[in-house]
């Protein structure tokens, strides 16, 4: 019996907890992609870099705060800096729209043109980030590292397996829940939010109902920028900040958005968790887990790992392919026919 409990704790510690935190981060990223798609009708390849940009601004402000001796007690100082990161990133998005996207929107360019343009922006932002903060790996967490350490857990339960919960993981979940709740309240309950949904549902009809496209687009970019900054910061806090990783995050983020149906915010959240859990569960070696469940003194020969962690991006890709083959509009039927 104790073996079974140990096995469950093992899975919780190495799979469920990290996958939940990662799922929150992906969901926030996918929300940004899906909102842009719903309102502006193109796949924004610059989204990963927008996230990186937000994280970078947060890091810079964090350093500034730290140099002033400002801290946030047990929580990371970055949390104090986050609003600044969100604001600056939202500003960046507005500028991008004003200087780049608006022209193509007004000239009614096909979506693929906007996509190419977003690729151009992606590299400009990537270059700027590396110019400002450099390509190196940055760890910027401070405060208490763990909410629950392995030692505490073992002392508490007397089990041989430990369970640790990092502050950053908890933070990812809490911040994501708060933001998503706020976003849905905005979309469902406010006039502007409804006009955004209406615009995304049927642009022509929204126009002739009196919705101003420029306003909807601006609000969308503001939200997307803020969400991206949060997603990037949470990811950076949980892992570490490295400009390159955000380019590779693009694939799981798009996979998450497509699984849920591009343009569908609820779908993006579900998609984020689907991708995160599949990625973590399929690349975990189950050797120890099976050893707990199997007979006494028995261990499997190999690692019992479906896929090496090197291929974690392959998981998102396979999910993407399956969805495209089986139900291209996504599980929650987005607007992607």
């Amino acid at each position: 019996m104790e073996d079974v409990v140990n096995a469950v704790v093992l899975v919780t510690n190495f799979l469920v907890v990290p996958a939940t935190a990662y799922g929150c981060q992906l969901a926030l990223g996918a929300l940004g992609v899906t909102l842009v798609y719903g309102v502006l009708r193109f796949s924004n390849f610059a989204h990963g870099e927008i996230m990186a940009f937000g994280a970078m601004v947060t890091i810079l402000v964090t350093w500034l705060l730290q140099s002033w001796g400002v801290g946030f007690g047990p929580l990371p100082t970055a949390l104090l800096a986050l609003p600044a990161g969100m604001a600056v990133t939202a500003g960046l998005c507005l500028l991008m729209d004003r200087w780049v996207f608006r022209f193509y929107r007004r000239s009614k360019a096909p979506p693929v043109m906007l996509l190419v343009v977003s690729v151009g922006l992606m590299f400009v932002i990537n270059g700027l980030i590396r110019f400002v903060i450099g390509p190196a790996d940055r760890v910027f967490t401070d405060g208490t590292r763990f909410l629950l350490t392995v030692r505490e857990f073992k002392a508490l339960t007397g089990l041989s397996e430990g369970l640790a919960i990092k502050t950053t993981q908890t933070l990812s979940v809490v911040v994501a829940v708060v933001l998503v709740a706020a976003l849905f309240w905005f979309l469902e309950r406010t006039r502007t939010g409804k006009s955004m949904r209406a615009f995304s549902d049927n642009e022509d009809l929204a126009l002739l109902s009196g919705v101003s496209p420029e306003k909807v687009v601006a609000v969308t970019w503001l939200i997307v920028g803020a969400l991206a900054a949060v997603a990037g910061t949470l990811y950076g806090l949980d892992k570490s900040f490295k400009p390159f990783t955000f380019l590779s995050l693009l694939l799981p983020i798009f996979a998450a958005a497509i699984v849920g149906g591009l343009g569908n915010p609820l779908g993006a959240i579900v998609g984020g968790f689907v991708v995160a859990f599949s990625e973590v569960f399929l690349t975990y070696p189950y050797r120890k887990f099976l050893a707990y469940l199997g007979p006494e003194d028995w261990r499997p020969d190999g690692l019992v790992q479906f896929l090496s962690t090197d291929y974690k991006f392959a998981v998102s890709f396979v999910i993407l392919v399956v969805v495209l083959l089986v139900k291209p509009t996504g599980v929650f039927s987005g607007k992607s026919s």
Partner: protein, 234 residues
């Protein structure tokens, strides 16, 4: 001058001109009907009146004011309502939200108008919380018209409101439209059911290849042998 007037409307979708100088006018409290063969440019003319087409030339006036250069959302502010032929509801939004979107440009209390619309289309009241995309064709058409009414328009344009609606519902729909017109709205309808629509019409236009072919009261058009032969099936 009539209340809503489009004159010398010329333009299309970037290719050849679909509209070739057609003129349409609608009077408050009256029903004006536009009929014509498929592809004549009826829907295009509606879009032109609402500013959703790049006109090469021609003008649109509302209540004597030149609104040719106004964007669609500005026309909504001026009190125009439009029910397009297709995609005329927000499918993912509930019936109630669709109606609220119709009142988007209003800042005052909309509950009274909401009651009026539900009074006009009682079936919608029970389906308030249902996404409009899940409704039947007739109910969807009611939502679309209701959405346009929520703005308390002074001029209402309906593009084939009877499309996909059973004959019984159509008759009921037309009765409602007559009520709306009698309340002082300038109603402009494009109709496939030419005979039925012209019977209601105070004025009618027959549009062919982007040009006015016949104009007159509903009765004269119905009585015109040429119109009967070509457009009303004898």
């Amino acid at each position: 001058m009539s209340f809503l007037v489009g004159e010398e409307l010329t333009g299309g979708y970037g290719g050849p001109d679909i509209l070739q100088g057609c003129a349409i006018a609608a009077e408050r409290g009256e029903i004006t009907v536009v009929v014509g063969p498929n592809g004549a440019g009826k829907s295009t003319a509606m879009r032109a009146l609402f500013g959703m087409l790049n006109l090469r030339s021609g003008t649109v006036h509302l209540d004597g004011e030149d609104i040719t250069a106004l964007a669609p959302q500005a026309r909504a502010h001026k009190g125009m309502g439009f029910v397009p032929q297709t995609d005329n509801v927000f499918r993912s939004m509930t019936v109630q939200e669709n109606l609220e979107m119709g009142a988007f440009v209003r800042d005052d209390d909309i509950s009274e108008t909401l009651d009026e619309v539900y009074g006009l289309f009682p079936a919608l009241k029970d389906k308030r919380r249902q996404p409009a995309g899940e409704l039947s064709g007739g109910q969807r058409q009611q939502v679309a018209i209701g959405r346009a009414l929520m703005n308390r328009p002074r001029a209402l344009m309906l593009d084939e409101p009877s499309a996909g609606v059973s004959p019984i519902v159509t008759r009921e729909l037309f009765e409602r439209i007559v009520d709306i017109a009698r309340s002082g709205v300038a109603v402009l309808i494009v109709e496939q059911n030419a005979r039925q629509a012209l019977e209601l019409a105070d004025k009618g236009y027959v549009l062919v290849q982007g040009r006015n072919r016949f104009t007159g009261t509903g009765e004269t058009l119905l009585g015109n042998p040429e119109v009967r032969k070509s457009f009303l099936g004898g």
